[in-house]
Symmetry: C2
Subunit: 509 residues, 2 copies
């Protein structure tokens, strides 16, 4: 407490106390006006014993910032929230910042979804009067729902959350901050910012203490977003010597190649096939979706495995890979994805939309109609996987490498977690490498947010990771186009790239 | 403009452009969310030619901050506003930041004045329900009035003002930011903060572009405020070898002693005599105030000079000094401030409040009654000047110096500008030094703000100046008390401190 001999200002006293504890740090700043309004009262009501919440600078040489002051010792109640802002689903994880442990999780559909399923339709909606505001409000409401859910479970108050670390693709990040995503969609595809500013969560409408900052992972380009940076960060590629291929498969497939010394990234517009789009009976990975498929090599009868083990209602992305891989393996389709018209099996028929294979007869399906896969579906799937594969090739060549130089493949994203490796390689979605070199990361976006909250070195790394990555634009790249054309085959026109598949197909014949 | 080969984000493009112009600077930050919302549109509407407004960091090693972006080249319209927030009067000066020239001025009474004349009554009012908010609103309204006045004169828009640099005493600074000044008044006199945070002017309600920051000079203690730091800065004491005494005379007299290597400061509660308080016919320096006075050495008749050269209505601070100095010089009062009861002059009489001298008979006064100066008035004046002088002495002794070591005296403040040096020394308000060593600074608070805006080195200096100053608390200091008692004499009980006055009084007798 101050005396007449020592009557420096309350804030100076706080700074002096802080200096005594952390003598090597720069004096922190405190540009948060509410803080100094409450400081005198907090100091006096707590008998001059307070807990400060410090925010580390983005660079090591920057001073910390005092973002909150609490009476007494509140260090035991220190939580951080990691949030993955997905186009479809948002997921949150509450972390005890003292132990680094995950103590609660929640997720919810992104409430923006009724304004468009994918980022392009969201961008279009954002261009309508009031649209941007609506989309921003919806994603904020989604985050609030996650916070409420977690706080209800853990019996804590939203005010106990001290940091929010979020990541999302470039469009989701723009919408959360209320930035117009318009130019992301128009060539030459320029985002407003890639390094998002530190924002007060409450300022966006998020239920949080007024001092709580929301951090957003920086994005790389319009179509390689903060979710990818977070994933690359989570996979710790920037710490490894191993030349790694990082893949996030989706409507926009994102690819990163590199190691601790360099990284290149690209997005390829794979189309929505792996998310069930453009596929006649395509659907999201929900109950009733065919996720795995086996075909009898002689009778060509199917064996279906659905999510929830109920009657099938459609095909999800991993099911699509499985179906095409098995149809190819059994010779029902050829390497061009065309049906063998000479097989004696009623499931193989010339239907309304051309040749197709009946996965489930109407009486066996949940939707009361035949569930089929058509040549058009297979064609769409081939375009999607071809774009991904051409992306790997183009990126590798851009740095003078080939698949032989790759030492590791990391599959990120929810979709990656459900892929059957053999089948994905067999159709040419993944490179034909030693299966031991493949790793599943899971939700890399959320994991990145989590590790960023785990300690301050990790916290700063996220910016370094971003700066290590150089982006490459594939959309009008001639090498990409020629690789893409060559990849419109099962698995590929250049079978030397797929030796294990070549051998398998040779054995079969 | 971006191309497919070069489609970094808009903000990265801006940063790259900036790097090309200022290759040696750190990359600036931009934590102003509105900025990135407007950036894409501004870039495109201006055909990718923009003007950035950068804010320099407080420390040299901190990166700049981008605070505004304007289409086209707007560097010609770049104005800064310097504002002195006085307890009584607020003054503003508009500066062309390109040339550094003052281009307009305006001032207005601080609209807080109806809630109390001095800082103590403002603190008390701030403690009433809603009082703090009211006082904050009033000073903001005053600043807005100044801005409107200046903008009307100069035909510019408030949005063209890019920086606001303000200074005021500690209470005024707290009230402007909405900080409770309560503890400033209670021993041990602790302000909430001394280094005020950077604040968005618009956030306080000031008519300014949303990105405009308001800077407030840091204060030293509860009673040595940012106005003094600004004055010391304006006087460039921190650049000089000369040991300087800096004085701002007022209800709270502020004193700084030092040079470029060290400075000590103190406030002494002189009482309101120099502002007309506690003086029977005391008044502020307004029309009708006696500001100068001569007495006929034989008849003891007065010659009055009033502000506005009209009939007298009272005595202002400089008039009070003049009256007491002349009464002493002529022998109407003695060195204890007591009237010579033996003089044959009807103006010297035993009145309702004890002995007094009639400065103006009722028929010659504006207020229709005799204007007098009483022994009580003189006593109050002696306490005020005694406190100031004891302050100089105590501060000098605290660093092992005497008046003989002083090389310069700088008189700051409006009051200082109207003081007659000889008379002020004769009554013991100022030390008896070579008259050539005295300098008048004028409104040092406003001048400091002006030079802070003049260039970035000066801008940063203000924090360094603050850090050079060590404050000393006089209120219960025993040395101060004994010096004070010794100073309750005209000019002083120790006449060796006032050799020129001693000689003059000796000549007279």
């Amino acid at each position: 407490p101050p005396t007449l001999e020592d009557n420096i200002s309350d804030m100076q006293r706080v700074m002096r106390g802080l200096r005594a504890v952390t003598p090597d740090s720069l004096e922190p700043s405190y540009d948060h006006p509410e803080l100094i309004k409450v400081l005198p009262a907090v100091l006096r009501e707590s008998d001059w014993k307070i807990t400060l919440l410090l925010l580390h600078g983005r660079r090591q040489e920057e001073p910390d910032r005092i973002i909150d002051v609490e009476a007494g010792d509140t260090t035991a109640r220190l939580y951080g929230l990691a949030v993955d802002i997905g186009t479809t689903t948002c997921s949150g994880v509450l972390i005890d910042l003292n132990s680094g442990k995950v103590i609660a999780e929640a997720s919810a559909y992104n409430a923006q979804i009724r304004y468009g399923e994918d980022v392009i339709s969201r961008i279009i909606y954002a261009g309508r009067p009031g649209g941007l505001r609506t989309l921003q409000n919806k994603v904020v409401a989604t985050i609030n729902a996650i916070i409420e859910d977690i706080c209800r479970t853990m019996i804590i108050s939203p005010a106990d959350i001290s940091y929010i670390m979020a990541s999302g693709n470039t469009v989701m990040s723009h919408l959360l901050l209320g930035l117009d995503p318009k130019y992301i969609r128009e060539s030459p595809y320029v985002p407003s910012v890639s390094q998002f500013p530190l924002t007060k969560a409450a300022g966006l409408g998020i239920q949080a203490h007024p001092s709580v900052r929301l951090f957003l992972y920086p994005c790389i380009s319009s179509y390689v977003g903060g979710d990818i940076v977070a994933g690359v960060h989570a996979a710790q590629i920037a710490k490894s010597e191993l030349v790694t291929l990082f893949i996030d498969i989706g409507t926009n497939g994102e690819i990163v190649v590199g190691n601790k010394d360099w990284m290149v990234s690209a997005a390829c517009s794979a189309g929505p096939a792996f998310e069930g789009g453009g596929i006649k009976y395509g659907m999201r990975a929900a109950n009733g979706a065919i996720e795995n498929f086996y075909i009898h090599p002689v009778t060509y009868d199917p064996m279906l495995i659905t999510i929830g083990r109920i009657k099938p209602s459609g095909i999800c992305g991993s099911g699509l890979i499985s179906v095409v891989a098995e149809l190819l393996d059994s010779g029902v389709i050829d390497q061009q994805g065309k049906f063998n018209r000479n097989l004696d099996q009623p499931r193989i028929r010339d239907g309304r939309d051309g040749w197709e294979y009946v996965l489930a007869w109407s009486q066996d399906s949940l939707i009361g109609e035949d569930i089929v896969i058509t040549e058009v579906d297979i064609d769409n799937m081939m375009r999607a996987k071809g774009a991904m594969y051409a992306g790997y090739q183009t990126l590798l060549e851009s740095v003078g490498l080939t698949f032989a130089d790759l030492e590791r493949v990391i599959l990120a994203g929810n979709f990656g977690a459900f892929i059957d490796l053999e089948q994905a390689i067999r159709i040419g979605l993944l490179p034909d490498m030693d299966r031991e070199q493949f790793y599943y990361l899971g939700n890399g976006s959320l994991l990145g947010c989590q590790i960023s909250l785990s300690d301050v070195r990790r916290f700063r790394e996220r910016v370094q990771v971003r700066q290590l990555i150089t982006n490459m634009e594939l959309s009008e790249n001639p090498e990409f186009m020629s690789h893409y054309m060559a990849a419109l085959f099962l698995p590929h026109t250049d079978m030397s790239l797929f030796p294990s598949v070549r051998d398998r197909l040779a054995d079969r014949n």
